[in-house]
Symmetry: C2
Subunit: 229 residues, 2 copies
C-alpha cells in the first residue's frame, strides 16, 4: 500500500485518491450539472443546487492500520442542506443509507436509533481524544464525565452504530464538511439528531464541531455539558 503524508501529517493513500476519482467520474457522467466537493480533489460547481460531498476513505489512520472501522462517506446536499447520506464499510460489508424524509437503512433493512433519556446512561464515541483542542478538550471532558461509557477510535462507523441503536452519542471536533455531511441524513433518518455543538444545523459553513445522539433528550443534555459547567 502506498502511503504518503499530507501537510497535516495524516496519511493519504493512493486508494483514497483513486476512489474519489472514480466517484467523481460517475457523478459527472450521471449529473453533469451537480457540484462536487471531495477531500482529495477539491470543489467544482460548488454553487450548484445539488452538491455531492465525498470522503473516499474516512478514517485513513484506521485504514492503513488494518482496523475495519474506516468508511466511504457520500453526501448529497440540496441548497446546502444534507438530504442523503451513505456510510459504507467495505470489510464488514455494511452500508447505511439515509434519506431526508424517507428513513435510514442498513444493508436495506430499516435502521433506528435507541432511546436514551438520561445522559448518565449514554455511551459516547469520539474518533480520538487528540481532536479536541484547548477549550474543546475541556468541554469534551465535562461531557465524558457525565456519561456511562466513553470509547474512541471508531471513525464514521460510530455514527452508523448510533443509527442502528448500538451507541447513544457521537461527538467530534475539527471535522471538515466531507467528514460529517454524510452522517447527518443517516442519523436523522434513523430517528436521531445531528447538529453542531450549539444545536445549529450542519452545513458547509459549520465550524467542524459535531454532536449527534439517538435520543433528542440525550442530545440536549450533551449540548448543555459541552456549553459549560
Amino acid at each position: 500500500m502506498a502511503v504518503e503524508r499530507k501537510g497535516d501529517a495524516s496519511p493519504v493513500t493512493v486508494a483514497d485518491r483513486d476512489a474519489e476519482a472514480a466517484m467523481r467520474a460517475l457523478i459527472t457522467e450521471a449529473f453533469p450539472a451537480h457540484g462536487i466537493l471531495g477531500e482529495e480533489y477539491g470543489t467544482e460547481r460548488e454553487d450548484a443546487e445539488f452538491l455531492w460531498v465525498l470522503d473516499p476513505i474516512d478514517g485513513t489512520k484506521s485504514f492503513i492500520s488494518g482496523v475495519p472501522l474506516f468508511g466511504t462517506l457520500i453526501a448529497l446536499l440540496r441548497d446546502g442542506v444534507p438530504v442523503l447520506g451513505v456510510i459504507d464499510q467495505p470489510i464488514l460489508q455494511e452500508r447505511w443509507l439515509g434519506i431526508a424524509g424517507v428513513g435510514t437503512t442498513l444493508n436495506g433493512a430499516p435502521a433506528r436509533t435507541r432511546t436514551c433519556p438520561e445522559l448518565a446512561d449514554a455511551s459516547l464515541f469520539a474518533t480520538s481524544p487528540d481532536m479536541f483542542q484547548g477549550a474543546d478538550a475541556d468541554a469534551f471532558a465535562r461531557l465524558a464525565a457525565g456519561v456511562r461509557l466513553v470509547r474512541h477510535g471508531a471513525d464514521c462507523y460510530a455514527s452508523g452504530l448510533l443509527a442502528s441503536g448500538f451507541v447513544d452519542l457521537v461527538v467530534e471536533a475539527s471535522l471538515a464538511p466531507y467528514d460529517y455531511c454524510a452522517l447527518v441524513p443517516v442519523i436523522q433518518g434513523a430517528g436521531g439528531i445531528a447538529t453542531d455543538w450549539d444545536g445549529q444545523p450542519l452545513g458547509l459553513a459549520s465550524d467542524g464541531r459535531f454532536a449527534a445522539a439517538g435520543d433528542p433528550a440525550a442530545h440536549a443534555q450533551a449540548l448543555a455539558r459541552l456549553a459549560g459547567p
Copy 2:
C-alpha cells in the same frame, strides 16, 4: 443482550459468562489436571504445571457497542510462562494462534510483524486513554509524542494487527493476566516482543503494564520513553 455492571462499572454480559463456562467445561474434560484462570469464574488448580487463562470477551465495551474489535482470548501457561495464545475475533472471523518456538498464524497462514527500527515511524495503539492513571498517563504521553500515529479503541485486536504487521506498538496499563497472557505467544511467535514496561517477561505476577512491538528496536525505544524524559 443482557448487560449488567461489575464493581468497576465495566459491562458484563451473559454471553461473557456462558462463553467462559463452555471453555472451562471443554478444558476440564480434556485436561482434568490442568488449572484454569478466567475473568468471570476465578481460578481452579492455579498451581498446576499447565494453566489456561481465559477472557471470554476481551473488550466488552466494544462488544456491547457493536464494535467488532473485541475478542476471545485463550492462553496456556506452562510453569507460569505463556506458551500458547489465541486471539479470536468472531465477527471478522479472524483467529491468531501463537505457539512458543513454533510461530504464529492468522486463520492458518503465517503471521509476521513488520520492521520499524525508528520509533518516530511507529504507529501506537492503546485501548483507551483512560487506562493510564497518574504517572502512567505522563509516561504514555511521552511515548505518544515520539511516534507517528496514535490510535485508541482496538482492544485485543490491536495485538493481532501487530502480529500481522499492520501496526508497530501496543502499549496498555491496568491489565489483568487474562487480558495479556494470550497476546504474548501471538506476538512472540510472529517475530515481535511483548514485556512489561520494564522489559521483564509477562506472567501472572506482572503489574498490568504491557508493551509490545513488532520490532525489538522500536520496543527498546518505547521502553526508554516510558521510563522517563
